[in-house]
Symmetry: C2
Subunit: 487 residues, 2 copies
């Protein structure tokens, strides 16, 4: 790791010589962005590998190279994600080939695709050469088949089997995020022996907080936390020190459920076993952190009706494709709402005030419904809601809607009365707002509950759906009541 | 930990005897919910501590106690969060007093308040008695002052100072999540000596993946990763094995920025130092995971206009209070939109079709604006956007809006033309939809950028704000164009 991030006092005297690392990296990023913008016109030369003729540009180019050389691959990934295509390619050309694989692992899926497209087969093979089996498997979906095939030829049989095993699981399964680098021992040896055994390694796998205890068939017997090993009597047998109460996972388990277990039980690593209880791999907290981040991002994107994480600087057409489906659905629902209004054109012609007041009824329903649905999607994500709960929540949300309806309905009813001088319009306003808030509450609970019950993501487009219901419903209720009582 | 969660094959033969732990815990939760519902009428007796007369209820009560006794405190916390008030209190009464503190740490803020309210001073003092200094500091804000005061009296001076230090930081600062339990050593001793020193501990602090190396003034010199210690030559001095490139934090640092560093550099623990580089504590990944989860939840809640995480079963009135502000803001903006329409009542009277078509223009703008704003809030949360980026993003979003406007505008323009037999209405529809999508794109980039620039949370009510702009704007554009060109 290339950083020496000294966190310092913010006192003005110290600030100049002692930036905090957060500030330093932010400054590096800004400088890199500035350099990239300057170098952008020289992209064709840089890409072709011809020397840059312009003296100033050449200096900038050297500065950019040395700035990038000092960055951690994860920081390089962040830089790449924050740049438009041509500048991204300049930076990518400057990344040291031995870091290519690491950087590819760190960037988002959409940016990864764009980077891989810019590389030829030999560059790709060199990039994945240093990767572990689980890392190669993670990239494999995005790599050309030929590259995966040739990369596998250079691995031994065990690693090939591991890559293929990892690739056989879906992205959301534990199998797709497990790694195969782990240390295992037998139960019938002394702690002293374990310590001597460990000393024979050049280095232990990342995040090794526990050693897995297995029998002669690799069946998991327990785990020996390093914390316990270090304080144990050297003469003591592993079987007397190890924990047998272990949170284990199966490769088919849902990664989000594994993440919940990691959060609840504060785990750093956990074993993955197959159907015969044989130890086949482990999950580490760094992968789990990614799962948590991706899951909550996906919920947010899904609620807003974006299909997937979007490359900030994706070509316009890619963005249009990523967003078109929910826009189309929204247009259909808006069209429906429009037809509801169309059915009451006669009423609106007689009382044109209705046209001005109807969006208020629809709007408050949409806002309130979104509040309800967001709360429920969040509670579902943290596993708090069971079926029995849904019914009770419904009762509570109906209560909240009733209270809000009476309060805000009365306020707007009064305003409408004063504005249009018609007590009737005021009353219809109160009734319509209350009813639409009730509708929003009921649908706000039902939409995510039904989506989840049918095995769908409860967040998926829920915001668009609830707005559809409260718009059409709001117009229907308000114009319907007005037609019945005011005409 | 009380679980022995054996993950098993789902084969029907094995299923009966070998549930997976996820299924088992889900089954336990369901049973607990069912028992609580049955016991709810007996709440007064249970609370008063009088024996339950009814034989059946007494049996259920015993079953509930033993189910709860087997759960991990984090699971108990999840159960409590998923229950309505009276049933929550029954479960809370049954939690072993020695677990009370742990459970209080695990539950959400809103549920914590409700649990603390139900306890008297002596119960609270007993609950916090076993907690570490950092844990006591975490609860302190929610505890009555007298309880905090008395709890501090039982601690030694060092711990008191730690609690007070931790309490002096804001929730979003590193100081509020750091803990004080850590192992530190000197640089000039052999690894052998370190191993012997560690063996004198009864147990090492949780998540000990590295030992902190300090000088005689507690100034941080480096860190000795346990992974390196275990493979190092026992004779080797710590100073030759330790890493001096360390990611350090200061207690005033933003916890979200610390979380980004943990994610990027795959950290498990990191030292916290004061202005003189003295080691004062450490941050652990479990706290960081909570920060990540809370941060993304807060973004989601804020976008929907919920002030804070809400107890699912909060009394109706508490929920009304949590939601009223954004509903009120929404009503104001809806009222504004209504007045925009009101200004065009004359046009609507003449062409009543306008009333039916205008929500389509407003709706697609709101939907598209929400897509843009969500993408940007997400990119800001992961630190991808700098000021220079905002301008480029704006150009891209305008391009996307233009493409969508031409495509979807034409579709709806055609529909409007066919429906109302007026080519003019169709043309106005195309123009209005395109313009409103452009407005949505511009505001979708500007609202979060300006909020962030002014030090506000970019997610805060952004969904309500963008909808406000695209509603009023959409009505104004559509009715304005119609008035100018069709009348």
């Amino acid at each position: 790791m290339s950083l020496e991030p000294e966190k310092q006092v913010d006192a003005p005297a110290a600030a100049a010589e002692n930036e905090s690392d957060v500030e330093r990296i932010a400054a590096d990023f800004d400088r890199i962005h500035a350099l990239c913008e300057i170098l952008e016109p020289a992209f064709p030369q840089i890409e072709a590998g011809t020397p840059i003729e312009d003296e100033t540009l050449r200096v900038k180019f050297t500065e950019l190279s040395s700035l990038l050389a000092e960055l951690h691959p994860a920081d390089v990934a962040a830089v790449l994600e924050s740049l438009p295509p041509r500048e991204r390619n300049i930076v990518w050309l400057l990344v040291a080939p031995e870091d290519d694989g690491e950087v590819l692992l760190e960037v988002s899926d959409s940016v990864r695709e764009s980077l891989i497209e810019s590389m030829d087969k030999d560059e790709l093979l060199a990039a994945v050469d240093d990767l572990d089996a689980d890392e190669l498997a993670e990239l494999a979906d995005d790599l050309p088949h030929q590259v995966v095939y040739e990369a596998l030829q250079t691995r031994d049989e065990e690693e090939r089997a591991q890559v293929q095993a990892a690739m056989s699981y879906e992205d959301h399964q534990v199998g797709a995020i497990m790694d195969f680098e782990l240390v295992s021992i037998r139960a019938d040896v002394a702690c002293e022996v374990v310590l001597r055994y460990l000393r024979r390694f050049d280095s232990l796998p990342d995040h090794t907080d526990k050693i897995f205890v297995v029998d002669e068939n690799d069946v998991l017997q327990g785990v020996l936390p390093i914390r316990k090993l270090l304080v144990a009597d050297p003469e003591e047998l592993v079987e007397n020190v190890m924990s047998t109460e272990v949170v284990r996972f199966r490769p088919e388990d849902d990664a989000e459920e594994a993440a919940q277990a990691f959060e609840r039980y504060d785990l750093v690593t956990a074993p993955v076993i197959d159907g015969n209880k044989k130890l086949i791999g482990r999950i580490t907290i760094d992968e789990i952190v990614d799962v948590i981040r991706e899951e909550s991002e996906a919920d947010m994107l899904n609620m807003a009706g974006l299909q997937e994480e979007e490359d900030l600087f994706a070509p316009i057409w890619d963005s249009v494709k990523n967003r078109w489906m929910w826009l189309a659905i929204n247009l259909c629902t808006a069209f429906l709402a429009s037809r509801v209004i169309g059915a009451f054109e006669g009423s609106i012609e007689k009382i044109v005030a209705l046209a001005a007041l109807m969006p208020i009824v629809a709007g408050i329903g949409g806002n309130s419904g979104n509040q309800t649905i967001t709360m429920i999607v969040r509670a579902m994500a943290s596993g708090q809601i069971t079926d029995a709960q849904a019914w009770r929540l419904l009762k509570k949300e109906v209560g909240v809607a009733l209270a809000n309806g009476v309060i805000w309905g009365s306020v707007m009813g009064l305003v409408a009365w004063l504005l249009y001088g018609s007590f009737g319009i005021g009353l219809v306003m109160v009734a319509a707002m209350t009813l639409n808030l009730l509708l929003a509450a009921v649908m706000g609970v039902m939409i995510p509950t039904l989506l989840e019950k049918n095995g769908r993501d409860p967040a998926l487009g829920s915001s668009v759906l609830i707005t559809a219901v409260t718009d059409s419903g709001g117009f229907l209720i308000f114009l319907g009541l007005a037609t019945v009582f005011l005409l």
